[in-house]
Symmetry: C2
Subunit: 222 residues, 2 copies
Amino acid sequence: MTSASEDTIASRISRILADRIVTGQLDPGTKLRQDHIAEEFGTSHVPVREAFRRLEAQGLAVSEPRRGVRVASFDLKEVREVAQMRAALEVLALRHAAPHLTPAILDQAEEATVAGDNSHDVRSWEEANRRFHTLILTPCGMPRLLAAISDLHAASARFLFASWRSEWEVRTDHDHRAILTFLRQGNIENAAPVLERHVQWIGQKPVRNASGATRDAFAIVG
Amino acid sequence: MTSASEDTIASRISRILADRIVTGQLDPGTKLRQDHIAEEFGTSHVPVREAFRRLEAQGLAVSEPRRGVRVASFDLKEVREVAQMRAALEVLALRHAAPHLTPAILDQAEEATVAGDNSHDVRSWEEANRRFHTLILTPCGMPRLLAAISDLHAASARFLFASWRSEWEVRTDHDHRAILTFLRQGNIENAAPVLERHVQWIGQKPVRNASGATRDAFAIVG
DNA sequence: CTTCGAGAAATTATAGATAATTATTATTTT
DNA sequence: AAAATAATAATTATCTATAATTTCTCGAAG
């Protein structure tokens, strides 16, 4: 992140709040009080309200008129929904990106995969995973599609951080490697289905509740 | 549209501006001046700015910090992009909606198709066409997906109105009928590919320029 | 006749203030 | 003691005002 005195206060606030929501620093249902946030950022609440509108559009916050803004809740149903939307859109993007993928890009994507495999915490794994997907999809040159995918990635990351906040077990991403191998061969017809399956792989993990009981936590781990 | 004194001024302004942009009352590139709009609606510019943020998220306006907001431009490339995104997402929605489609819903969808075939102007055709798609997709019960599709429909409508503003030739929608026939048989595997092709059918029409020359106008007509 | 630049006007972005609505607490009544 | 109601506090949504930035206009120089 740059110093960002270029863009507006509103966009800065929305970026920072989005990050807090995604990383789980702000729990679902938490009230976002404009005056408090305005005070924290040393501004008036006008740019804060503009930031709220953006968070709303991204699906990270929900607003009830005259009753304020809250951090959006989510459930297993929405995790599945986001996974399926990602599958549909990422496959589309990959088909258009494939002809423009260079060996240099694929090398960077391989580096990102290695970085992910070596990650010992969720946050760095997520960052590497997102870098992989972004690298192989960006060359599609479809800005609207990429923006939609980016919002879905944010949602995915949120599900992930909500479940795997602390523990993380190292694992090798065979899907990423298979995708890269096919792409190096220029074989999109095989790469696409792997990606489609990959992003719909929903991880499941028992999580200890506050009351001691265990429930299952779910997240997209692709 | 209801009287809508329930929701905020900002959402009312964004709805009305969105409609103007979609219907082509506001041309691409037109500056949206917050004080003028505020005066028109008898409000201050604070809710106007919030409305701008929503239009931006919908892809109907673009904002340059400290330089104002303009109606978003678009070209053939973006028409294609929106068509392909719609194809991917509507097929996904249809697959989940299909098990919940009732004969009553399919009858309503058929009515919408007939209404479209009998339309003598673009606006009523677009309304009927959107109703058809909404009817067969809504039962998927995936709110995030439906919201994304709705935004893409708005973009499609904009392309359409920009090209076919005045003239409109009556035609029979064979695709819609084929889709309905398959859905009545519970045959999703055949319905989905028809829909996928259908929404990517990009109409083309010669349009007389201001300088007398003719150029080709493009729009999604599915 | 064109190009550059200074000053003026318009416009955006933010701050501070006000009215209206909702949530909370205290109090009264049953 | 519990429930209902009134008073109070907190919060949202909006408006008016101010500062900062950009665009426009017009004149002077090349």
